[in-house]
Amino acid sequence: MLIEVQSLNVRYGNKKVLENINLSVSSGEIVTIVGPNGSGKTTLFKAIIGSAPISSGKIIMSPSVKVGYVPQVLNVDRSLPLTAERFLNLVNNRNDQGLLRAQQILGSEDYLSTQISSLSGGQLQRVLLARALMNDPDVLLLDEATRGLDQPGSAAFYKKIEEVRESSGCAVLMISHDLHVVMSASNRVICLNGHICCQGEPQSVASSPEYRDLFGSNIDGTFALYQHNHKENKSRINHSNA
């Protein structure tokens, strides 16, 4: 077991953000967390990496477990001059294997000398993923990693993740709104709304009443996709016009 979360509770002030969370991630698994906005998905990630206050319960993770974390957003103030290359190497425990994987993600490296505040969405996403891979992690945490990417872009991104997992055997724990991706690519789905509503194999989760309550009755996920991801919605309309 790489990560084990036991009866975790997180509160911000009086607000219960996470209540009695129990979950585990084993090596090589792809586990996806789905849930509406404000359901505590990002907070759960923050608790795992140690940046959210835990009010009770515990997270068991051996210190030898290497974590690669891809945040939801990286807001870099334009006043901070920092190249992508420098960002990759900033307080990062690199190793040869990790560097190799990072290079595969980065592809052509011509944008590495670019200031990080002027990277395109796709380039920034690649840089963030490459950074997370540089220590050859045992578990990769992806927080809505395809936000800001168009549909071909996010499809390519998930393909890369799959390749990384196959070659390195690392576990992937990800938060995603792309329900169709979730259903096809995950070993396990956790449906979160403050507490864990249901979890299990994608098909069993999709047919459970709790999941339908959250995402509507349209099981293939299209309805929920349109409801939850306006950016993707727009790009689809553009595609049909073209």
């Binding site: 002030g13 006043s79 001059p81």
Partner: protein, 271 residues
């Protein structure tokens, strides 16, 4: 050499500028300008207490700045109204400080010196304190440099890399309190924030890495202190405000320079 008040004043001005400029880069990158200003304003309470109970002004200012900055750092993230809280805390401390000062006889004229600084009155001890403060701030920043940069970019990434963002932020908090405390004699509580952010803002267009930006900021800060001091000597103007005006002039120059560079960059036609 230190018996000459001009040498002491120059050393004091340069010392404070050198400490303020690299820290000021973090203030600019993290958009903490208002935080710095509120901390500096609050320091007036410390000054008034030290005048009342007759202990070192430096210690009084440092004490209140540290408390103020620590309280805000702890409160950070728990409240959405951080800048409102800063305004409330900073200005109430300042107002309270002004009331306390009004009870002490003979201090009313001296008060101006704490608001805008009185660099010509710095003693040998002041110069020593300023340079000790400078050494402390620089050591803290150099020691935690990479960690602070990563925390500035994204605290969750920093936590995932094994850092403790709250601890790193506290380093900045302490450094800020020290700069405020040593800067009071030179530019006063009202203007110290300008020594933090103006040189940093000027150096943005000059430095292509965070380190270069910090070094240029320090050089420009020191230059402002020396030129400002000479301006004030020649034209008999208040020294603190003169230093700040020179720093602003340098900012305008570098801004113009970078705009021109942008405009005439080869390969781009502006119609």
């Amino acid at each position: 050499m230190l018996d000459d008040f001009m040498v002491r004043a120059t050393l004091a001005g340069v010392g404070v500028s050198l400490a303020a400029a690299p820290l000021g880069c973090f203030v600019v990158w993290r958009r903490m300008a208002y935080f710095g200003e509120a901390t500096a304003h609050a320091a007036l309470l410390g000054i008034s207490l030290s005048l009342m109970f007759e202990f070192s002004v430096f210690a009084g200012a440092l004490f209140v700045s540290v408390i103020m900055a620590t309280a805000v750092t702890i409160g950070q993230g728990r409240s959405l109204f951080l800048d409102t809280l800063l305004g409330v805390a900073g200005h109430s401390c300042m107002a309270l400080g002004l009331i306390i000062v009004s009870f002490i006889s003979g201090v009313r004229i001296e008060l101006m010196a704490y608001l805008i600084g009185d660099i010509l009155a710095v003693s040998k001890t002041d110069v020593l304190l300023i340079w000790l403060g400078l050494a402390l701030v620089l050591l803290l920043l150099i020691w935690r440099w990479s960690a602070l940069l990563l925390c500035t970019l994204n605290e969750d990434l920093a936590a995932a890399s094994g850092l403790y963002p709250k601890r790193e932020n506290f380093v900045l908090t302490i450094a800020l309190a020290v700069v405020v405390a040593v800067g009071i004699k030179v530019v006063g509580v009202l203007l110290i924030i300008s020594l933090l952010i103006i040189p940093a803002a000027s150096s943005r267009s000059l430095g292509s890495t965070p380190e270069k930006m910090a070094i240029y900021a320090s050089l420009l800060g020191a230059l402002s202190a020396i030129l400002g001091f000479n301006v004030s000597y020649v034209f008999d103007t208040p020294t603190g405000p003169s230093i700040v005006c020179v720093a602003s002039l340098i900012f305008l120059l570098t801004l113009t320079f970078s705009l021109l560079k942008e405009r005439f960059r080869p390969g781009i036609k502006i119609t």
